[in-house]
């Protein structure tokens, strides 16, 4: 036991310092340093309690002994000094004890937490979230792209008349183009068929609205094709139409180039190959550089570096005749995107049927 603490067991008179305030002062300082040193012990509840009892306890603690042995016994002239020193020491000890207690409690919590270690590799509590179908997501992406350059969205019926599906698009009966669009007819609604493309909304829109017209038309279309990896008798299109007094082939090129770069990335190159559709002239097949190989040639692009995207072109003036637009005054362009095909290309899906089976293992892949 350190000498200073031993001294608390002595009576004041045995300290032999009744006239030496300085010596008493040293003694108290020594005690405070001893206490501070002791309080540095690693904080456990036991240590904290032992400290409290030893220094501040009601009975037989350092403080209680100082009070009983020194203060009470001190001659009247020394009482003042002892009292002052005691008042100085007490809060120091109390602070040390309180701090040690706090540290010991924190250490206890830490120790408990350490025992109850979280395994970060275990999964958390999750709610099952749903998904939007890839076709829907692709539509949303296309809407965003075309809305940013002023295209409004309109919708039309899937069960159409032959007039809007064919005639008003410059495809009269017995036109060979009808061979390429094998059509389902409705038995109990004469004159109606399942639209083979979203193009009927061209005439339906222009009949109701004067230029400027700038629309995209989403929806299901139907072809009487036997289903396989690239064919389905139902698929999804996005028709585009822009008509105004000043729309040219250059605007047409700029618009679909913008689309391709937005959809497949800024590095995408595009090209137009002359083609034929009854409702456009000049007509074009629109190709984009292969997004998989960047145009070097790979399996996706059948080693050509290019991927056939869709048909498009300037609106055939004959079409304006059906909607009573002045073909001398107005010009425009139209295109028909295959939405499922775009999604297949973008995500490397090799089977169109996956879109319609709705296997949740497929659906969940596109969160």
């Amino acid at each position: 036991m350190p000498e200073a603490i031993e001294k608390t067991h002595l009576r004041f008179s045995q300290l032999h310092c009744s006239s030496d305030e300085q010596q008493l002062h040293y003694l108290f300082h020594e005690l405070s340093e001893l206490a501070a040193h002791e309080a540095e012990a690693s904080p456990t509840p036991e240590v904290a309690e032992k400290f409290r009892v030893r220094w501040l306890g009601r009975q037989d603690s350092v403080l209680s002994r100082i009070t009983a042995n020194w203060l009470k016994e001190a001659p009247p002239e020394a009482k003042k000094w002892v009292g002052q020193q005691l008042n100085w020491l007490r809060p120091i000890l109390e602070d040390l004890a309180a701090n040690l207690k706090k540290l010991s409690e924190e250490a206890a919590l830490d120790a408990a937490a350490a025992r109850d270690q979280i395994d970060l590799s275990l999964p958390g509590v999750t709610r099952t979230l749903g998904t939007q179908h890839l076709v829907r997501q692709t539509y949303e992406e296309l809407y965003r792209i075309f809305a940013s350059i002023g295209f409004s969205i309109v919708e039309g019926p899937e069960i159409e008349t032959a007039y809007y599906n064919f005639e008003a698009l410059n495809i009269p009966e017995h036109h060979p183009a009808r061979d390429n669009m094998d059509t389902f007819y409705i038995a109990n609604a004469p004159g109606y068929l399942l639209r083979t493309h979203t193009s009927p909304m061209q005439a339906r829109t222009m009949e109701k609205q004067q230029p400027p017209v700038r629309i995209v038309v989403p929806g299901k279309v139907y072809r009487r094709d036997n289903p396989d990896a690239t064919h389905s008798f139902v698929f999804h299109q996005l028709e585009g139409l822009a008509v105004d007094t000043d729309i040219t082939f250059c605007d047409f090129k700029g618009t679909i180039e913008y689309f391709a770069k937005e959809f497949f990335g800024p590095q995408t190159r595009v090209r137009l190959r002359p083609s034929y559709f009854p409702f456009t002239e000049p007509s074009a097949e629109f190709d984009a550089s292969c997004h998989v190989c960047g145009g070097k040639g790979c399996r996706t692009c059948k080693h050509s570096g290019w991927i056939e995207m869709f048909g498009a072109g300037m609106v055939n003036p004959a079409v304006y005749g059906f909607v009573k637009y002045d073909a001398q005054r107005y010009s425009g362009f139209a295109f028909g995107l295959g939405v499922d095909r775009l999604a297949m290309l973008k995500y490397g899906i090799d089977d169109l049927q996956q879109f319609f089976r709705n296997d949740v293992r497929f659906l969940r892949q596109f969160r």
Binding site: L122, T128, L129, G130, T131, H133, R136, A147, S148, G150, S152, I153, E155, P157, E158, I159, H174, P176, A177, F184, Y185, I186, N188, A189, L194, P212, R214, Y222, R224, F233, V234, H236, A242, D244, D246, I247, T248, F249, C250, D251, K253, G254, T255, E257, R273, S275, Y276, E281, P282, A284, M314, F355, F356, R357, N358, D359, V360, R361, L363, R364
Partner: protein, 696 residues
């Protein structure tokens, strides 16, 4: 159309190798899919668009090549030794139906020796996918592949009275065609006949009777022009598509008929010898009159948005046979903005009738790549679909509730559709379905939802929550009606077991909860019990919008009936819902338009629990009603917290733990107030519903 590179070179002396030619042609509108090697040299497989019948022969393709490379086009120059005896005297030709056959030419060749063709000819035909027959038939096919004009050779001695009559078939008239099939004709078909009867289906296929054989000595060579629509109908009706019908139905070159005849006669003479009688019998009642079309730079600029120099315009149009001549008053000045050209439309370009057609010709040969891309300025704001925002919120909510969106094919089997069909709905039936499984348009979303659940269960996917936003289709009074619907489907576990939670089966409560969350967007729902054939009894409900009061239901939901589940071989509970989308979206729009801030309460809320014993059949709604009837302004919420049967609860009764929340806007509620509310509630429930209060 397969094209022989070496044959092409006979007409346009192109030096570019096949691969380069392929890409140049493709970029000018003649898409070449592949190049193959053959005994006769490289073969280009060109995809000819239906507007260009003139490209269904090597000379036509060579014209495009000549225009692309600015080469001279060398057309064949047939030379034949004709005898003094005129063909006119040996045979007679009449056209009775000029509307079906506008021109018919015939040549007579006597004393031919029909034998197998020489190697060069066989190789060329075979490289192009044609089988070699004999030197005479091969000569006609060769000329067709060369200049695009189909020809037919008859055994002259088998033509009764050496007469050709072109007429409409009599209803039910029959003839055996070259392929050995007995064909039956109708009145709108064009037949080539001799004095006795039909010897060929005009423009489609010859008859077996007058076919060229190795014993044929004399022949009549037909080169004619048939009406495209009539050929198309005939070929479709007979199910007979031939190289000839393919060309005639797209529009052959009427001026080519006599030329091709001469070229074929030359070839036959070279290959089979014989004497070509003098001249050609040419019945051509209405001569083709060439059209003039003007092309102006102004219009070219208006459509294309960028210019093409004079020299390019003139060279392209000349090479394609349009013989452009400057027709504007400003003739001398090069690249003038008012420049215009008068163009003569060649007989092989029936597809060109308007200025826009000439613009396309110039543009595609000049090169689409030379026109700079540009984005047109938008003049109007881009509009979304009506209620697009509401639909988006609905989708977001469904996804948050754990439902995966599906996209189904609306064509379904009649038998399955009938299971879920709404009362009085009459489906749109497909007149020409591909299969029984897709014979009509669905009259519900549930039919697709059940099929999708079926697919997933059969593929080991057992925990399902699905939704679809689609349509149902009906026919009302011979007119189609399409209605937008939202369908939900669920099966399996609502919650899977994990280290944190136990598993739980999806129940009716889950479905109702999901629907209540959806209807919360629309101002709430009213639920009523329903009885539907495809839903289990006591597990089915009709839902209407709370805003509509007791109004018309907009949807149904419930657990799939056992009988239906058995048909689908479902071995677990399946839950379905179907709602009309448009009224729902409308209600969502209204609810969000009327949404206003509600100040937060300043005084604490207090909960009081009531443990009730109630007779079975007492609905929660009746409890709510009884409490609300007390008109306690501080009443905020009534919740059912726990429900159980059995144990100490007597049979025919159940115990319900009810939690009622009170809150005042003006003060903190006192114990005395709360005691009074509780007492009133307890006595009201006891009096009106016979509820007894258990000590809780």
């Amino acid at each position: 159309m397969k094209v022989l590179y070496n044959w092409l070179k006979e007409f346009a002396d192109v030096s570019a190798p096949p691969a380069e030619l392929r890409s140049r042609l493709s970029m000018a509108g003649v898409s070449v899919d592949s190049i193959d090697e053959s005994a006769a040299g490289p073969v280009l497989d060109a995809e000819i668009t239906i507007n260009r019948p003139d490209l269904l022969g090597h000379v036509g393709i060579a014209r495009e090549v000549a225009a692309l490379y600015r080469l001279d086009l060398k057309r064949p120059q047939p030379k034949i030794n004709e005898s003094a005896e005129p063909a006119m005297q040996a045979a007679r030709v009449e056209i009775e139906s000029p509307e079906l056959c506008a021109r018919y030419t015939a040549r007579i060749v006597r004393g031919v020796k029909v034998q197998p063709s020489p190697d060069w000819l066989r190789q060329r035909l075979e490289a192009l996918g044609q089988s070699s027959i004999n030197n005479v038939v091969d000569a006609t096919n060769y000329v067709m592949l060369e200049v695009g004009q189909p020809l037919h050779a008859f055994d002259f001695d088998r033509l009764a009275e050496h007469r050709i009559v072109v007429r409409r078939a009599r209803q039910g008239e029959t003839m055996r065609t070259l392929d050995g099939i007995e064909r039956k004709f109708s009145k709108d078909m064009c037949l080539i006949c001799d004095a006795r009867g039909a010897v060929a289906v005009g423009g489609v296929m010859g008859g077996a009777e007058s076919e060229i054989s190795f014993s044929t000595k004399n022949l009549l060579l037909e080169s004619a022009w048939f009406d495209p629509i009539s050929i198309r109908r005939t070929s479709k009706a007979l199910g007979l598509r031939t190289e000839a019908s393919l060309r005639f139905e797209r529009g052959a070159d009427i001026e080519m008929a006599a030329f091709a005849s001469k070229r074929a006669a030359e070839l036959i003479q070279q290959l089979a010898g014989g004497e070509v009688l003098g001249g050609v019998i040419d019945v051509y009642p209405q001569l083709h009159s060439p059209q003039k079309v003007e092309l102006s730079r102004k219009e070219l600029l208006r459509v294309m948005g960028a210019d093409v120099p004079d020299r390019e315009i003139e060279e392209i149009l000349s090479a394609l046979g349009f013989a452009p001549v400057r027709s504007d008053t400003n003739r001398g000045s090069a690249d003038s903005l008012v420049a215009a050209w008068s163009c003569a439309i060649p007989s092989w370009r029936g597809d060109v009738t308007r200025e826009i057609d000439l613009i396309e010709e110039v543009a595609r040969l000049y090169g689409y790549d030379k026109f700079p891309p540009r984005l047109p300025p938008a003049k109007l704001p881009a509009k979304r679909l009506p209620h697009a925002r509401e639909e988006e919120r609905l989708r977001e909510r469904l996804v948050a509730l754990g439902y995966h969106e599906i996209v189904a094919i609306p064509l379904v089997a009649a038998e399955r559709d009938a299971i879920f069909r709404p009362e009085n709905a009459s489906p749109a039936e497909i007149a020409n379905p591909l299969s029984e499984d897709a014979s009509l348009m669905r009259t519900s979303g549930a039919v697709s939802m059940a099929a999708t659940i079926e697919w997933n269960l059969n593929h080991g996917q057992k925990n399902l929550r699905l939704f679809e936003i689609g349509k149902m289709y009906e026919v009302r009074g011979e007119k189609p009606v399409e209605t937008r619907i939202l369908s939900l489907g669920a099966a399996g576990l609502a919650r899977e077991q994990s280290i944190h939670e136990s598993s739980r089966e999806f129940s009716f409560g889950d479905l109702k909860g999901s629907l209540d969350e959806i209807f919360a967007l629309a101002g709430g729902a009213n639920w009523r019990p329903a009885s539907l054939q495809w839903l289990a009894p006591n597990r089915a409900a009709r839902i209407s919008l709370a805003a509509a009061g007791e109004g018309k239901p907009i949807g149904v939901c419930g657990q799939l009936a056992r009988t239906v589940a058995q048909k689908f071989k479902f071995r677990q509970d399946v839950f379905l819902a179907e709602l009309q989308l448009d009224p729902l979206l409308e209600a969502i729009a209204k609810a969000s338009a009327t949404l206003r801030y509600e100040p937060l309460p300043r005084f604490p809320a207090v909960e009081r629990d009531f443990s009730l014993v109630l007779a079975d059949g007492t609905s929660f709604a009746s409890i709510e009603h009884a409490i609300r009837a007390l008109s306690i302004p501080e009443l905020r919420r009534i919740e059912a917290v726990d429900l159980f049967r059995g144990g100490q609860v007597p049979a025919g009764k159940h115990s319900l733990l009810l939690r009622v929340t009170f809150q005042s806007d003006v003060s903190t509620l006192t114990d005395a107030q709360l005691a009074e509310f509780s007492a009133r509630i307890a006595s009201a429930l006891s009096e009106k519903l016979g509820a007894s209060l258990r000590a809780s």
